[in-house]
């Protein structure tokens, strides 16, 4: 059973969002998503300062078997990336919600964040996909 922390918000495409309370949000992929991808071997991060739309591809993740896109769950501007992933993409496999975070956004509208799924809704989506 995948880990779905209650305090996070989720996108249909399996990204999670944490509201940092300082005007920024942190984005990663869910435990379910990393498990489906398997061992990760490469992450291509977005450039800092890049403006992204909700649903826009902004990260490429490669596992031993395939490449996958990560979409920005929200519109905003990339203000920080997890550079540790360049040398250690497996951080996502080991700790998808902690050390395996991928990027941070600033300038996110509060209403957009509220529009994402909560943990219960995301868990229901995972159950339906089973």
């Amino acid at each position: 059973m995948s880990n779905v922390p209650a305090e996070l918000k989720y996108a249909k495409s399996h990204e999670w969002v944490r509201d940092n309370g300082d005007g920024t949000v942190t984005v990663g992929i869910s435990d379910h998503a990393q498990e489906q991808l398997g061992d990760l071997v490469f992450v291509e991060l977005p450039e800092i300062g890049r403006a992204v739309k909700a649903g826009e591809e902004c990260v490429v993740i490669e596992s031993v078997k395939a490449a996958a896109d990560v979409y920005s769950p929200l519109a905003g501007e990339v203000c920080e990336v997890n550079a540790n992933l360049e040398g250690a993409p497996e951080l996502i496999n080991g700790d998808a919600y902690g050390d395996g975070w991928i990027f941070r956004l600033t300038g996110v509208a509060a209403g957009d964040l509220a529009g994402l799924m909560d943990a219960d809704a995301y868990s229901a989506q995972l159950a339906a996909e089973e």
Binding site: V41, V64, E86
Partner: protein
Amino acid sequence: MGNHTPLYPNHLAAGGKIVDFAGWEMPLHYGSQLEEHHQVRRAAGMFDVSHMTVIDLSGARTQAFLQYLLANDVAKLKDSGKAIYSCMLLESGGVIDDLIVYYFDPETYRMVVNAATRDKDLAWITRHAAAFGVTVQERDDLAMIAVQGPQARDKVGQVIAAGLRDPIAALKPFFAEGSGDWLVARTGYTGEDGYEVMVPAAEAGGFWESLRQAGVAPCGLGARDTLRLEAGMNLYGTDMDESVSPLESGLGWTVAWEPTNRDFIGRQALAQQKTAGGLRRLVGLLLEDRGVLRNHLKVRLADGSAGEITSGGFSPSLGRAIALARVPATIGSECEVEVRGKWLRARVVKAPFVRGGQSCIDGLMVT
């Protein structure tokens, strides 16, 4: 529901992630493909390869039949238990399958062919065997376990029947030794030392468990593919198929042109290809930029001509992206590969990339 090998219950018990492979429900991995890969390079791992097709051939003219059927020449096999690798060709020179053939005596041979090609192989072999009066018997009563890695031979020796212990310890590469329906061959598909063991289906589960208790890690198809790519070994359906000849698949060395009077299926087409020239080569690529190489990516040469990656992936041993690519023979030491719309730099290298736990590429170490 797909086909199950006799080891299917063992895969479920060990937590294998099961996927469909050519109609067989097989383990992709048991938790981490990368860990399984490293286990084989550093210690010992085992693979269920029972989905492969074992075919026994017998009859007075079996040797003549195989000399006609295969591009390599079974007349090279003079010692009982000796094996060779060969392609089986269409008249056009395209590869129907690649296989290993074991020699027992001039009237008795065994072939091991791929799983995905089972039906067409059996139909092709049976059709041509008739003229030679050769009996073709599929041995679906056997399972097959590949045990690979620097500790593989030692571990198998600890658990195999006492009567086979000394004979298999003395085996040279590409030789096999048997007892009853057991056959232990010093062959493999990982670039490591080890055995491929054919065992009666009813005894397979027990043998697998005894190997597990001896410390041999179950490994899935995922690790098998990254290991074989590092070892620079071709995969049927990916690096070669019916549309290309062994001469353009890095397998020219498996075609026995001598004696010149041996007529084998596809010989004429291969000879014509050689005369015509302009043959493409299968080369190794090492990605210099960051990224991962995948099957079917476009390769661009310095002279503007183009090729294609046939097998690409991430090398867990080297921590780099590697590939096999079919390219014009004009390729130099560098080329470019189109990865998601960008042209990345790659170095042209000679496969294998890794053998016997050591990097074969200058300047690179095994991680």
